[in-house]
């Protein structure tokens, strides 16, 4: 394959990944890593490095738009970042110590879990409007627009959410993804934060989490400019379009789209990991 063909193909895949990543609050990584490793035959270490970059591009590129819509909650995000950044460094260290086959299989399992929760999980929960003791202590309650009217929400189960976030950070550092799936689950399911607030706050968090393991990845040579260049430019463009669509999209449709795409990639990833192709 020539450099030109490779760059253009990777750019096209990354544009789709960025679009879906922004739409679901997961970051482009969950699609970029399997796509590069499976379809393009790129060594998973390069795929992980390029993905890490794409995760940051998705997060930072979409930030301004989300903030204007009034969905993301910077206090919840920063508070939980203490757990995700420490987890991310732990995960990045672990990545050097286990085989790429194992990484592929773990990656696949994380994807299956994300997809199942998304498609078969409970429907949109009631918004919790009261704030418990910890929520008040850390002033995490806020409001977000529902059909243009501000609706108040509180936060439950902060310790559970915080622990899950450490795990999300470790997965991010290990797999080079934003691990938005685990973050969205922690906030939406465990902490009962409204879904749109969860996805957009997750978007805020994934960039910071990815930056926490970026130093380790860069120094190991996982971030190759020839792979990362088309990935970053593609994901960024896709993310900008995805963000514009998100505001008008229905939550149920979002979850279905995300679930199906992820499940397909998961199956392929686990199969390739077991047969030693990745």
């Amino acid at each position: 394959m020539t450099v030109l063909v490779f760059s253009l193909t990777v750019w096209a895949i990354s544009t789709v990944a960025g679009f879906l990543g922004a739409l679901t609050g997961l970051g482009g990584g969950v699609i970029v890593v399997p796509a590069l490793a499976l379809a393009m035959g790129v060594d998973i270490k390069y795929a992980i490095g390029a993905s890490l970059v794409s995760v940051i591009a998705t997060s930072s590129g979409a930030a301004a738009a989300y903030v204007k819509e009034g969905f993301s909650n910077i206090r919840i995000g920063l508070f939980l970042e203490i757990a995700t950044t420490i987890g991310a460094i732990a995960g990045a260290y672990l990545a050097a110590r286990i085989s790429t086959h194992a990484i592929a299989i773990i990656f696949g399992l994380v994807l299956v879990y994300s997809a199942l929760i998304s498609v078969f999980g409970e429907h949109e929960h009631e918004t919790i409007s009261d704030c418990d003791a910890l929520c008040r202590r850390f002033r995490l309650g806020s409001s977000y627009p529902v059909n243009g009217v501000p609706q108040k929400y509180g936060v439950k189960n902060l310790p559970t959410g915080f622990s899950l976030m450490f795990g999300a950070g470790a997965l991010s550092g290990l797999l080079g993804i934003g691990s938005g799936a685990v973050k969205v689950i922690a906030m939406d399911r465990a902490m009962k934060i409204p879904f749109k607030v969860s996805t957009t706050t997750s978007n805020f968090m994934i960039g910071v989490t990815a930056a926490a393991s970026a130093g380790v990845y860069l120094s190991r040579g996982y971030i190759d400019p020839r792979v990362a260049m088309p990935v970053m430019l593609g994901v960024l463009g896709g993310a900008i379009v995805g963000t514009k669509v998100l505001v008008h999209a229905r939550v149920r449709t979002l979850r279905l789209v995300f679930g199906v795409v992820i499940l397909l990639l998961a199956a392929e990833m686990i199969f390739s990991g077991i047969t030693g192709k990745v």
């Binding site: 930072s60 910077i74 203490i82 960039g207 930056a211 970026a214 120094s219 400019p225 020839r226």
Partner: protein, 121 residues
Amino acid sequence: MDDRRLEILIGNLLRAGVLLAAAVVFAGGVFYLAQNHAAKVDFHSFTEESASLRTVGGIFRSAAHLRSRGLIQLGLLLLIATPVARVAFAVIGFHLERDRLYTVVSLIVLAVLTISLLHAT
């Protein structure tokens, strides 16, 4: 200054940072494609990159010589810096709001990020 204005300010700053990073990566990418478009590539197996593209100092030197890969890496470094800057601005913003709790929270996050990035120096 309230949370909302702070967030919008940070959001706009981030977008500017990302666009700058993208422009640098794009410029490096154009150079790279112009020089290598017909060359064969193969990323099937991992080979250690040269140190000039793996450390912050090496990347700056390579970019200063206008080498295409160095320029791309410089753009990626700028991109990696955007979430770090976002947290740094949150520290300043919360301090201006006299919100001691969240000044400390964002300082802890900033400290963890800084420790990690020291790897690549």
